[in-house]
Assembly symmetry: C2
Homo-oligomer: 379 residues x 2
């Protein structure tokens, strides 16, 4: 079996560094550039699987750390793996838990073996290292699994810390390859670290790509370094990654970051912004954000975004949505999430079309100008 | 125009006092016996209008009191009336606000004119009498609107209090008829009071039916009097109501109360049990209740109710639902509500079929025996 199985990637059009293509997984294909809504605890918050599909999402993400803590991978495995458990028949990617271990856990102790920490739920002692992350992800059964990495902050960090984290990420990646027990039906992606330092990124790319994996992620960004620094790092890093493997920018981000990264050849994204913002009264539109609780929407019969064809925009007025949000009705989160995720899918769908038409740069510039940068600052 | 327009009722089959039929409204028909899920604040909690329809609900209920307080009937009217506002194209019934005025409001002052009270939200002074209730309901625009009644408790109440409330309900009903400004497209139902006192009920029926309205409700029950007392009162009251008008038992109830009342000729029901219980981890099944957070469901691959064909039972395992409920995922409420409302619709659909087949009594007895009385006690 070739080392890239069971994931294959076919580029169908290129426009400068930007490209569009198709990734094939054991649970079907997804088109790139792809946006993955986040289903942290085996549920894309407030949506049924059918509603997820209706947003035109083709692949979703689950969080290894959260699912390990609750309900435990053994429960997920007993109930059909993540696909069966959450009733999502399409492609799924799980992260490695690395990011959450470093951002959420208490009293963390990092050794070469892995990370010992206290659960953010009940304070229980947990240990996750490369082998543990692989075992959990093998039990969860996603189509794409991620190498366990050390994810340092990008600000207030020394070059030495970044270098150590990148080096450890390489050593851990090798152990992940060795520890992966289901290579025939789960593709393992490597993660490149190195912060915003071009030299460290280049070295990390060289070491990780030596493993000849079916896809590579740029990790350790979207942590407060800012748009220009993020896109700059992507512009330097993405071209170093093999052209024939999907490139995944983890945890990104506002539409202008997504569009900027697509322009430098990134193929996959995930971010909680569409789902989390929907629960915080913030709805995306092509002409800027709508803060739906504002009193100007009180009797507004217009949909959130007249250019959107999602169920929410076809069905509900801004006035009704405002009412639901003000009263805390559960339908508010559902309706808002349907719209925001559909908006993100529209962004990548329109990006694919623009790449095919050879007009990506114009499309991305116009989209960002029209929607207004400021509107996308809310995290 | 005949006094019963715009509501018409056609009985299609009878089985003893139990009957099945069709009510026609300006927004389409619904079959009886009918169960109306409660959309208190212009939303059946946690469901989209499409999901409501998929539970096979044909008519839903909105609460005049709540909608008057927030967002105000003028907002609802400006956004297309209740049908347009909440995007429910089918029949809608609004209650009169009477029940909530007596159960929810603070510092209530009852006079012959109406009720002055403090809003349960912000303490603001509000006055609702028969004319105000009609004006609000005319603005909301439901197909069926209810007369403003005085709804006393059924326990710890003197006969004098019950008599006074019934008498005032009659005088107020006459004022509702006079105050109703849209008789051409909204049918006004009268409400019979009198507690569990047969003589008072009979007098109330005689007075209210004199108004020749398109439908009649039995109010003032399901307030703690117990199953036998409730069904006994219905058994005495329903036969006194005109046979050719729909009979609506307000706020009822657990399936055994619904089935008991259908057996005495009641046609319409509403209750928060399926929706509220779904949010409180209590799911209905044909063989008794499922408390879905119990640990016995941890790895249970079975659906909530193997006999149910709702989206939830076709899609999710008990183990997955338990996980969602334990973690407070918003999808828990949605999935649970879809099932519980579909269960209630199955109850009335099966009741209709049994009436048509002339085996209603057997059906109702078997259903209650199989599902277990105790399971339905949670309110």
């Amino acid at each position: 079996m070739p080392p890239t199985a069971p994931i294959s990637f076919r580029i169908t059009a290129q426009d400068g560094p930007a490209r569009t293509g198709i990734v094939t997984t054991p649970h079907g294909e997804f088109e790139t550039p792809a946006f993955m809504p986040v289903g942290t605890k085996a549920s894309v918050k407030a949506l049924t699987p059918r509603q997820i599909g209706e947003t035109r999402s083709q692949i979703i993400l689950g969080n290894t750390y959260h699912l390990h803590i609750r309900p435990g991978e053994e429960v997920v495995a007993a109930l059909g793996g993540l696909h069966g458990f959450m009733a999502w028949p399409g492609p799924i990617l799980t992260d490695s838990g690395g990011y959450q271990v470093f951002s959420l856990s208490h009293r963390r102790r990092l050794t070469e073996e892995g990370v010992e920490f206290r659960s953010h739920i009940d304070g229980k002692k947990v240990f996750i290292g490369p082998e543990e992350s692989m075992a959990i992800q093998n039990a969860l059964g996603a189509d794409i699994i991620m190498a366990f990495d050390e994810c340092p902050p990008t600000v207030d960090v020394t070059r030495e810390m970044l270098r150590d984290a990148a080096d450890r990420t390489t050593r851990w990646a090798r152990r992940c390859v060795d520890g992966h027990r289901r290579p025939e039906d789960q593709g393992l992606f490597g993660i490149v670290q190195g912060g915003t330092d071009p030299e460290l990124r280049a070295r990390s790319v060289a070491e990780i790509t030596e493993l000849d994996l079916p896809g590579y992620a740029i990790g350790g960004l979207a942590l407060g370094e800012g748009h220009d620094s993020l896109v700059g790092t992507v512009a330097e890093t993405a071209p170093l990654l093999p052209e024939d493997r999907p490139r995944y920018l983890m945890g990104v981000g506002p539409p202008k970051d997504v569009l900027g990264a697509i322009g430098h050849g990134v193929d996959m994204f995930d971010c909680v912004m569409p789902t989390r913002n929907a629960r915080n009264y913030f709805l995306f539109t092509r002409v800027g954000p709508v803060r739906i609780r504002n009193s100007c929407h009180r009797q507004d019969p217009a949909p959130v975004d007249p250019e959107c064809r999602c169920y929410t925009c076809r069905t509900f007025s801004r006035g009704y949505l405002r009412h639901l949000y003000l009263l805390g009705e559960p339908l508010a989160s559902t309706a808002g999430t349907i719209h925001n995720v559909a908006f993100y899918q529209d962004v990548v769908i329109e990006a694919r079309e623009a790449i095919k038409a050879g007009r990506y740069k114009d499309f991305a510039r116009n989209f960002v100008e029209r929607s207004g940068e400021a509107g996308f600052a809310l995290r």
